[in-house]
C-alpha cells in the first residue's frame, strides 16, 4: 500500500506587504500576524500532485493513504481543514506547544524541522512516500527535503514536476533541474521535493459540501515531546540538543533597495508613454 505524507508550511503572502511595512517593524522579530497567509507555492504544488496520485490509485482500486503534516500553531488549522475537505485522509499539526521559547527558533533551522518530520515518519512505521516543496519563503533553504532523506536513509529526487503511478511500490517521476528534464521509474520508499510544476500549480478548491463534511473531521495535534514517545531512547531525548541548529542567526536586515524612482507623470497613458520614451531614449535604451 502506498502511504504518502505531504509536508507543507504556510507563509505570509509576500505580495501583501512591502518595504514600508518592513521598515515599520522590528526586523529581528518580525510580527507578520497581520498578513494573510497562503500555502508556500512549492508545497501547494506538492499537495495537489499527491491528490492526483491518490485519485489515480483509487481509480485503479489500489489502496492509497494520504496525509498532510505541518509544524505550526493553531493558525494552520484553516489550511489543514481545507486539505481534509479535498480528500486528505489525515491532517496532522506538530504544535510548538504553549511555550515555544522552550525550543530553538525553527525559522532557519532545517536540521530541526527535518528531525521532527523524520521522527513523525518513523513513528508511523510503514510510510513510504514523503513529498515536500523544494523550498519555503521565509528561510528559502531548500534543505529540509534532502535532510529528511538523509535521516531516513531514503533516496531523494529534487525539483520534481510530475509524478505518475506505476505500481503500489513504484512511481514514474519527472523533474526539471539544472537545465534538464529527467524522467525515471523509482522504487519506494522515497522523498520527493517539488519544484516548478506547471501541470499542478495550484491546490484544488473544495465544494461547500466537502467543506461541511470536513468541518466534522479531526485535526490531529502533536507536541514536540510526543514524537517518538514509546521507546526508551526517545523518552530520553534532549530536545534542545536534538533541535540544535548548525548555524546561529546573528542579524537580519532589509536588502539594499533604496533606489530613487522617478515617476513619469502625465494627463493619461499617452503622455506617460511619451515621457517614458523620452527618458529611455535620452539614456540610449530605445531600439
Amino acid at each position: 500500500m502506498m502511504k504518502a505524507l505531504v509536508c507543507f508550511k504556510t507563509i505570509p503572502d509576500p505580495d501583501m506587504f512591502g518595504n514600508q511595512e518592513w521598515e515599520a517593524m522590528d526586523i529581528h522579530q518580525p510580527d507578520l500576524s497581520f498578513v494573510k497567509r497562503i500555502f508556500n507555492c512549492f508545497d501547494e504544488s506538492g499537495l495537489e500532485i499527491a491528490l492526483r496520485l491518490s485519485g489515480r490509485a483509487k481509480a485503479s482500486d489500489l489502496p492509497f493513504d494520504l496525509q498532510a503534516l505541518t509544524i505550526d500553531d493553531v493558525r494552520a488549522d484553516l489550511f489543514l481543514r481545507h486539505l481534509l475537505a479535498v480528500q486528505y485522509d489525515r491532517a496532522v499539526r506538530i504544535d510548538p506547544g504553549p511555550d515555544p521559547d522552550l525550543y530553538p527558533d525553527l525559522r532557519f533551522n532545517a536540521l530541526a524541522v527535518s528531525f521532527l518530520i523524520a521522527s513523525y515518519i518513523k513513528s508511523l512505521g510503514e510510510q513510504n512516500l514523503v513529498i515536500l516543496g523544494t523550498r519555503g519563503g521565509i528561510s528559502d533553504n531548500g534543505q529540509t527535503g534532502p535532510l529528511v532523506a538523509e535521516r531516513l536513509g531514503w533516496p531523494c529526487i529534487r525539483d520534481v514536476s510530475e509524478v505518475d503511478f506505476v505500481s503500489p511500490h513504484s512511481l514514474r517521476v519527472s523533474s526539471r533541474t539544472d537545465n534538464t528534464i529527467m524522467t525515471q521509474t523509482v522504487r519506494l520508499p522515497l522523498v520527493l521535493t517539488i519544484g516548478n510544476a506547471p501541470e499542478s500549480p495550484f491546490l484544488r478548491v473544495p465544494t461547500l459540501k466537502q467543506k461541511l463534511k470536513a468541518a466534522k473531521k479531526k485535526i490531529e495535534v502533536l507536541e514536540f515531546p510526543d514524537l517518538g514517545m514509546g521507546s526508551e531512547t526517545d523518552q530520553n531525548i534532549d530536545w534542545k540538543t536534538a533541535l540544535k541548529n548548525d548555524k546561529a542567526l546573528t542579524d537580519l536586515g532589509l536588502r539594499n533597495r533604496g533606489r530613487t524612482c522617478v515617476f513619469v507623470e502625465g494627463k493619461g497613458p499617452q503622455e506617460k508613454a511619451e515621457g517614458l520614451y523620452k527618458l529611455l531614449d535620452d539614456q540610449g535604451l530605445m531600439p
Binding site: A110, G142, G195, E265, L285
Partner: protein, 377 residues
C-alpha cells in the same frame, strides 16, 4: 583555511566547457573573492562523466595563480546525487578541508546539505557573501522571500556552502595544467588508486531505472537579452501574453514573466524570471504588472535600468525601479509601442510637449543619482 570547490563538468567536456559550468564557476569566483586571502590551500574537485575534460573553469583568477590543485573525479550516474556523495565522502576522508564550496544549481544545494549532514559539519545554501574572522565563518543569504538578508555564524567544520545565483559573469576557460594535476596524484583519472575501494553509498543507486534525460531547450532568448519586458499577474490571460509578445518585439525586447504567470500556463517555463528561474542583467528591463515580491525582483535587480508600470503606486517594485509609471500597463505599453513604430518611420517627428518627470524623492532614498540627474535634464 583549506578549501575546495566542487563542480560537475557535464559530459564529456573534452573541448569546450559547458556554458552553465562557467556560469557556476563565475558565481563561485565572485563569492570566493571575499575570503581569497584567508584561503591557504585551494583545490578544485571537478566531476565529469565519460572522457576527462582537458579544459577547466578558471577558479579564483587574480587571487591565486589558479587552483593550487585539480582533481578530476569520474562519476557514472550523475543524475543521482548519491553517486557524488560517496565519492565526496571518500575524498574528504583522504583530504579533509575546512570549507567546501558548491555551485548555485540544484545539485550544489543538495550536495552541500547532505555532505554537511554526513560529515557532521554545518551547511548553508544560497550564500551571497562570507567573512572569515577569528577562525569563524560568517555568511549572508536572502530570507523572507528575498526581502531581508540573514546573517549566520556557522557551527562545526567542514563548512559546506552552496553559493547564490547571480547574473551571468562566467569564468574563463583554461587548459588543465598537467603538472598541477600530476603533482597531486600520479593517477589523474581516479583518486582512489592504491586504496581500498570506496564504500558504496548506503542509499545505493538501484532504486532508479528507465532514466530518460533531455536538455531543456530555451527558445525565449531571455537569458542574454539586452532589453527585457518582464510581466506579472497584471497580464491576466494567455491572450494578453500574445499582445505583449508583439509589444516586446517592437521594443526590441524579450518577454519574461513572474512565477504566477508561468504557473497559470500563460507563458512557458523558459520565460520564468526570479529565484526559481532566470537571474537577468539586461541594459533595460520594463517591469509591467509586477508587484515586486522579492522572489521575482531578485531576477531583475541587476538590470542597468528598470522602468516599472503598475496601477498601484505603492507597489514594492517602484522601490527597485529607476523610473515608474502609475497606470494600466495595457494602456501605457501600446502607446509606447506606437511611439516606437512612429519614430522608426519618421525619426524627425516632434514629440508633443512632454511633462517633466516628478521626483518623489521624499518617499524614497537616493541610491543612483546619476540616472536621476540625467533624467531630469
Amino acid at each position: 583555511m583549506k578549501a575546495t570547490v566542487v563542480l560537475y563538468a557535464g559530459e564529456p567536456a573534452r573541448s569546450a566547457a559547458d556554458p552553465s559550468l562557467l556560469v557556476r564557476a563565475g558565481e563561485i569566483n565572485r563569492f570566493l573573492a571575499d575570503i581569497g586571502p584567508d584561503i591557504s590551500d585551494l583545490e578544485l574537485w571537478l566531476f565529469y562523466r565519460g572522457a576527462p575534460p582537458n579544459t577547466i573553469p578558471d577558479i579564483m583568477p587574480g587571487i591565486t595563480a589558479g587552483p593550487a590543485r585539480i582533481l578530476l573525479l569520474p562519476v557514472d550516474l550523475p543524475h543521482l546525487p548519491e553517486s557524488f556523495l560517496a565519492s565526496l565522502q571518500a575524498m574528504y576522508r583522504r583530504k579533509p578541508v575546512d570549507l567546501m564550496v558548491f555551485g548555485s544549481d540544484g545539485l550544489g544545494r543538495e550536495l552541500a546539505t547532505r555532505m554537511a549532514y554526513r560529515l557532521g559539519g554545518a551547511s548553508c545554501t544560497q550564500v551571497e557573501t562570507c567573512e572569515f574572522r577569528s577562525s569563524r565563518l560568517q555568511v549572508s543569504k536572502p530570507a523572507y522571500t528575498h526581502t531581508l538578508t540573514a546573517d549566520f555564524e556557522l557551527g562545526s567544520k567542514p563548512w559546506c556552502l552552496s553559493v547564490a545565483k547571480t547574473a551571468d559573469n562566467p569564468a574563463r576557460t583554461i587548459k588543465i595544467d598537467r603538472t598541477i594535476l600530476e603533482s597531486l596524484d600520479q593517477d589523474t583519472e581516479s583518486p582512489y588508486r592504491g586504496e581500498e575501494p570506496m564504500d558504496p553509498d548506503p542509499i545505493g543507486t538501484t532504486w532508479s531505472t528507465d532514466v530518460v534525460i533531455t536538455p531543456e531547450v530555451s527558445e525565449s532568448g531571455l537569458s542574454h537579452a539586452e532589453r527585457v519586458l518582464a510581466v506579472g499577474q497584471g497580464v491576466n490571460s494567455r491572450e494578453n501574453m500574445e499582445i505583449l509578445e508583439n509589444i516586446a518585439d517592437t521594443l526590441g525586447a524579450h518577454l519574461g514573466a513572474s512565477r504566477p504567470v508561468v504557473m497559470n500556463a500563460w507563458a512557458g517555463m523558459d520565460r520564468l524570471i526570479g529565484v526559481s528561474g532566470l537571474i537577468l542583467s539586461p541594459r533595460l528591463c520594463i517591469a509591467a504588472g509586477v508587484s515586486g515580491a522579492g522572489a521575482f525582483t531578485a531576477g531583475i535587480q541587476n538590470s542597468g535600468f528598470i522602468a516599472a508600470i503598475n496601477t498601484d503606486g505603492s507597489a514594492p517594485v517602484f522601490k527597485l525601479a529607476h523610473a515608474g509609471i502609475v497606470d494600466d500597463m495595457f494602456a501605457v505599453l501600446p502607446a509606447l509601442q506606437k511611439l516606437i513604430a512612429e519614430r522608426k518611420t519618421d525619426p524627425e517627428k516632434p514629440f508633443r510637449p512632454v511633462p517633466d518627470a516628478h521626483d518623489r524623492e521624499n518617499q524614497m532614498s537616493r541610491e543612483n543619482p546619476k540616472n536621476l540627474e540625467e533624467s531630469e535634464k
